[in-house]
């Protein structure tokens, strides 16, 4: 478990990658109104393009075993505890950088078209650039605290972008929910981080730096590592929408569609997976945590896929599909196949971004309509969108030689063959693959095939999206196929991917049992269930039939309603957590605080007042009474002193 020694070089260029989008964001924030919509949007795109160019250049410079660093300044120093604001790029970060800036750039371009009619377009690009800035901090930070700045920063941007159309309460409520649920995860994350720092600090090593952590990880006791990784995983589950903290992601679709593509599919939600991969040296030492992660990942993947079967909102289907695919990533992490997880993250970024942007194109064409029941037959109206959508759907469903095929099979194979894996894990993943194919093709058929069910006046305006929107779609569709070719299994032409990430996760892989023949057989099995899913979808939704209704009323409609209402999870949380919580809070605020605590204070005051009310009777105001008292007291004193003598 000794990391390959990495050659560290200092490259001052790194800091410009996040800084350029930040500067663009600031310029647009202060002068955007004066620059005009076009210029502001252009500036935002150029800034991300510049970051992308730097990322490419860095990627080209970077040897697989190397690492670039750029220390900007010391951020916090308190005694031996020191945190520097500093960036690092190694093989893992480089991949993330390309995803974030590359796909980020495409989505920026797309947004130029998508948000063209929106009056808040400048604000939109301010947020979007700010998001790129924070996301780059997240992936480039060379210590946990810089990562955490990015972590929270992307949460902020996500909050702002979900509630971007703030005049609608539902959007801002979704934004709040996203931020607060994420905060619950962050609570775990911070505690894990604190535990890690203090445990190592007790051994005299005060650091949050990934490289140093990796060197000193052996100082920690196994129980501590388990606890630390569990707490960190709470954070990851929050960010990456795993059970039980996934509830915010489907609601987050309230944001503009490019946001869903960028933040809630391609980049931010994968931060949890990235973080665990970044700290893989900790996680591999905690087998209990890993098996929990694998279980949760598998459960999330399956559970979200079942919900996606019945949703009618085009984006919600994709949202649950994202949750499900994130589940796959965590399955991979849970079995120690970090490279597979990052591979799936990488390919997923392409096809899911493509799907979201495609759905955005549909929504755009239908004037904001998101209900799939009011779509259909759009193939003829939106050819580019349709064909890119088909490719991306094939990719996510795992059709042969698409990106999803390679990455998903890689994970399933690892789940089956690696020592931490098991047949059960594989089985759940396999089943989910079938469900995925079914709900994705269901969506494809509902949206693009059959009769057009849109209202007449909407129908009249259906148009293919402008070039700024279709070009990103085409690029992403290409990525949805070819991105996977980097990580082909051994029985094909072998994986470039594993070679690239080898230096990072080197020891994390353990020898797999099982032969290439098994691998091919399993792949065929997966293809079979994927094909089954497709066929089912075709028979149910591809042709005009009564089957959907009949399926819905199966077993009295109970299972359908259960899925449609997402297992009533939101309602359960509401009853179990939110309501008792607000009730308790209301009781404290309205009864306990004014009644008991302030009541005691006021009771003291009233006591003093009552006491005085009694004794004020003595003050008659009559001088003669006072004098009488005076005399009496004098006499008493006199008597006392006389007696003393």
């Amino acid at each position: 478990m000794v990391a390959t020694t990495q050659a560290v070089a200092t490259v001052d260029l790194l800091r410009w990658m996040p800084l350029i989008p930040l500067l663009a964001s600031l310029i647009n924030m202060f002068f955007g109104a004066r620059l005009g919509r076009k210029t502001a949007g252009g500036l935002a795109c150029v800034a991300v393009l510049a970051s992308f160019a730097i990322a490419l250049y860095i990627f080209w410079l970077l040897p697989a075993t190397g690492m670039f660093r750029d220390t900007v300044y010391t951020w916090i120093e308190s005694g031996s505890f020191q945190v520097k604001l500093s960036f690092q790029v190694d093989a893992l970060t480089a991949v993330m950088l390309l995803v974030v800036t590359g796909i980020g750039f495409l989505i920026h371009i797309y947004s130029l078209g998508y948000m063209d009619h929106d009056e808040g377009i400048v604000r939109f690009f301010v947020y979007l650039n700010l998001f790129i800035f924070f996301m780059l901090l997240l992936v480039m930070g060379d210590n946990l605290l810089v990562l955490f700045i990015g972590w929270e920063g992307v949460g902020l941007c996500s909050y702002l972008l979900i509630g971007f159309w703030y005049h609608d309460h539902a959007n801002t409520i979704a934004g709040n929910k996203a931020f607060i649920v994420n905060r619950i995860g962050d609570f775990g994350f911070v505690l894990g981080l604190l535990l890690l720092v203090t445990e190592l600090g007790r051994q005299g090593i005060w650091t949050l730096d990934f490289m140093e952590l990796q060197q000193h990880v052996n100082l920690l006791s196994p129980e501590r590592i388990t606890l630390i990784t569990l707490l960190l995983f709470v954070g990851a589950a929050g960010k990456s929408a795993q059970i039980p903290l996934f509830v915010w992601l489907p609601d987050a679709m309230a944001g503009p569609t490019p946001v869903s593509a960028l933040i809630h599919a391609a980049t931010m939600v994968t931060a949890g997976a990235y973080m665990t991969a970044r700290l893989h040296f900790l996680f591999v030492l905690a087998p209990e945590t890993l098996s929990l992660i694998a279980t949760i990942g598998a459960a999330t993947a399956f559970f979200a896929a079942t919900v996606a079967l019945t949703q009618t909102d085009i984006k919600r289907v994709l949202a649950y599909s994202t949750v499900s695919q994130l589940g796959y990533m965590f399955v991979a992490i849970g079995i120690g196949a970090f490279s597979a997880a990052i591979f799936h993250l990488f390919t997923h970024a392409f096809f899911k971004a493509c799907l979201f942007l495609g759905s955005g194109s549909v929504i755009h064409a239908l004037d904001g309509e998101q209900d799939m029941r009011k779509m259909g037959g759009l193939k003829a109206y939106l050819p580019t969108t349709y064909w890119t959508y088909v490719i991306a759907t094939l990719a996510i469903a795992g059709a042969p030689f698409t990106a999803g095929f390679f990455s998903k099979d890689f994970i399933l194979w690892q789940a089956y063959s690696s020592p931490r894996g098991s047949t059960e894990l594989w089985f759940v993943g396999w089943l989910t693959a079938g469900l995925t194919a079914f709900y994705m093709f269901r969506q494809l058929f509902l949206v693009f095939h059959g009769e057009c069910r849109a209202d007449e006046h909407v129908k009249a305006h259906i148009h293919e999206s402008p070039v700024v929107m279709t070009v990103p779609l085409v690029v992403l569709a290409a990525g949805s196929i070819f991105a996977g070719w980097l990580g082909a299994p051994e029985y094909l032409w072998g994986s470039l991917w594993d070679h690239w990430l080898q230096p990072i996760f080197g020891g994390a892989h353990e020898a797999a049992h099982g032969s290439p023949t098994d691998e091919i057989n399993l792949t065929l099995l997966t293809l079979a269930i994927g094909g089954l899913g497709f066929l089912l979808a075709y028979f149910v939704y591809g042709r005009a039939s009564k089957l959907p209704d009949r399926l819905a009323s199966l077993a009295g409609g109970g299972p359908y309603r259960l899925l449609l209402h997402k297992y009533y999870i939101d309602e359960i949380y509401d009853v179990l957590i939110v309501r008792p919580f607000t009730y308790c809070s209301r009781w404290l605020a309205q009864v306990f605080d004014p009644g008991v605590i302030d009541g005691l204070v006021n009771a003291v005051a009233r006591g003093a007042r009552g006491f005085s009310l009694i004794w004020r009777e003595v003050q008659t105001g009559n001088v003669q009474h006072y004098l009488a008292g005076f005399l009496a007291a004098t006499l008493a004193l006199l008597a006392y002193f006389l007696k003393q003598q």
Binding site: Y73, T74, W75, I76, E77, S78, G79, S80, F81, L145, F148, I149, W151, E152, G153, L156, Y159, L160, G163, Y166, H167, D168, H169, T172, I173, G175, N176, F179, I180, R183, I184, D186, F187, V190, L191, L194, L195, V197, T198, G201, R202, W206, T582, C584, S585, R586, L588, A589, Q590, D593, I597, D598, L600, V601, A605
Partner: protein, 516 residues
């Protein structure tokens, strides 16, 4: 002149008083001149405090710029002032916020002369309390600042101002009288043991009293400061005072006066009675954590924005108290940093609430909604301040919060975990408020006519916002100057006891005391 040359700190204390005297001379009708005069002198004080910052040697933990003039020789009472890393930034915070508070008082039309007079006197009182090193002098300043605040709330406040003002004064006074008794007792005991009657804090630090005496004295000091902070359950005067106080009063109250409570702990109660403080730590930590959670829960359900912010102060200051009572560098340093953060972000929140109140004459959350459309600049600033208050990394709140949690976690992980729920709770109540005020449809016709911030208001907010960001991005200039003094204070706490790892004894953890 040679006979009575004012030192740097004394001049700082004198500037507002001189301003107040001049103010008295200006005829009543010229209210513009009053404001100009007050603004001039508070700005002057701020500039002067910057020169003090310049002269301050950040590498030293000892008292600097000390001035010592005998006052009541017979009783050993001196005029003794000085400054160290702990008080330096609190002084700067005070002088920084005063011109802003004056600018924010532009809407005060009624008796503006007296109002400004009290503001200036209040500034001297607060500054004096921060720099006084003679216990008696400290007590004098402590009471001096009470009176102007009483009038600020009682004369220029809201409908229930008298109730609030009286409650504020009586509550604070009840605590401080006990402190006076303790001060006198302490000085007398010092005289008995060393034959020197003095109120000099630095000499009293070296007094080794037996534990039971320390305990009583600590109790008296702690009660006085706890009311000021306010520590749960002594907090109920705060919402009342905040709600009724005029904007500038709220700003000063939250940003500076409350800090005097926490400052009192770290300057007086803890180093004077280290054994008692260590023994009391578990209780104080418990109260602090309860305060964090309780304040946040109660804040959530408030209908009045000012009240919400007031309860959030209870929560935030609970965090500061937690940091101070874990007795390690990170905790105390973070606590002091958090005092500054809270001063800025809560000060800014009250300023913003005041601005919206000036326009709408209501502070009820339900009266607003959809303000972003009408007031984008206001909303953006409120957003930033909200997230500063929530503790978003990159803004000031996070640095202090993280250091406190880090320091506390090494000592008492359980309580720290409970305290860290404040992270979630603060997000809930602040975002909930923000959503209801700023987001949503702009339905209320009265809100549709609102004007965005004008130049004066932007001028008020800009420096605060700039500092909020700066302190989050680059806290080092602050932390490094605070550190030596905190080290010294901690050394005092542990050296007197002769038990360097006393943290273990207080909290039961096997944590090695770190960082030193």
């Amino acid at each position: 002149m040679a006979a009575f040359a004012l030192g740097n700190l004394s001049l700082l204390l004198a500037i507002p008083v001189i301003g107040a005297m001049l103010l008295v001379l200006i005829p009543r009708q010229k209210s513009k001149a009053h404001f100009t005069c007050a603004l001039l002198f508070t700005s002057l004080a701020f500039l002067w405090s910057l020169t003090i910052l310049n002269q301050f040697d950040g590498a030293k933990g000892e008292m600097q710029l000390v001035e010592r003039v005998p006052w009541m020789r017979f009783y050993g009472i001196e005029y003794l002032v000085g400054i160290d890393g702990i008080s330096l930034f609190l002084v700067l915070l005070t002088t920084f916020l005063m011109p802003i508070a004056i600018l924010a008082s532009w809407s005060v039309k009624d008796k503006s002369k007296e109002y400004l007079f009290f503001m200036l006197i209040l500034e001297t009182g607060m500054l004096g309390a921060f720099v006084a090193l003679d216990l008696f002098l400290f007590y004098v300043f402590w009471e001096v600042m009470l009176i102007p605040m009483y009038f600020l709330i009682g004369v220029w406040g809201g409908p229930r101002r008298i109730y609030a003002a009286v409650k504020f004064v009586l509550y604070t006074m009840a605590g401080s009288l006990l402190m006076l008794v303790a001060i006198i007792y302490l000085a007398t005991r010092h005289a008995q043991l060393t034959q020197v009657l003095t109120f000099d804090l630095l000499q009293l630090y070296d007094l080794h009293l037996p534990f039971h005496e320390q305990a009583w004295l600590f109790l008296a000091f702690a009660l006085s400061f706890a009311i000021k902070v306010p520590v749960f359950p002594f907090h109920t005067w705060l919402p009342d005072a905040h709600v009724e106080a005029p904007t500038a009063g709220s700003v000063i109250l939250a940003a500076i006066l409350l800090k005097l409570g926490t400052y009192g702990f770290v300057r007086f109660a803890i180093p004077l009675f280290p054994a008692a403080a260590l023994a009391a730590a578990p209780v104080m930590i418990a109260l602090a954590v309860v305060g964090i959670i309780y304040g946040a829960l109660v804040a959530m359900m408030q209908a009045d924005i000012k009240k919400l912010v007031a309860y959030s102060s209870v929560s935030h200051l609970g965090l500061v108290m937690l940091g101070l009572f874990v007795f390690n560098l990170q905790g105390v340093q973070g606590g002091i940093y958090q005092m500054l953060n809270h001063g800025l972000s809560t000060g800014a929140l009250f300023l913003l609430v005041g601005m919206i109140y000036d326009r709408r004459h209501t502070r009820m959350i339900e009266d607003f909604g959809g303000l972003w459309k009408q007031l984008p600049v206001f909303s953006a600033v409120l957003l930033l301040v909200t997230f500063s208050s929530i503790g978003l990394p990159g803004l000031n709140g996070f640095v202090g919060e993280f250091l406190i949690l880090l320091g506390a976690f090494a000592v008492t992980p359980g309580w720290t975990a409970a305290a860290a729920t404040g992270m979630i709770l603060s997000a809930i109540y602040m975002l909930w408020m923000f959503r209801r005020v700023i987001f949503g449809p702009l339905t209320n016709p009265e809100n549709q006519k609102l004007k965005d911030l004008d130049r004066r208001e932007i001028l008020i907010l800009a420096p605060v916002v700039a500092l909020i960001i700066f302190m989050g991005v680059y806290p080092q200039p602050f932390l490094s100057r605070v550190k030596p003094s905190v080290d010294l204070t901690l050394k005092r706490v542990f050296a007197i006891q002769g038990m360097p790892t006393a943290v273990n004894n207080t909290a039961g953890g096997e944590a090695k005391n770190d960082g030193r």
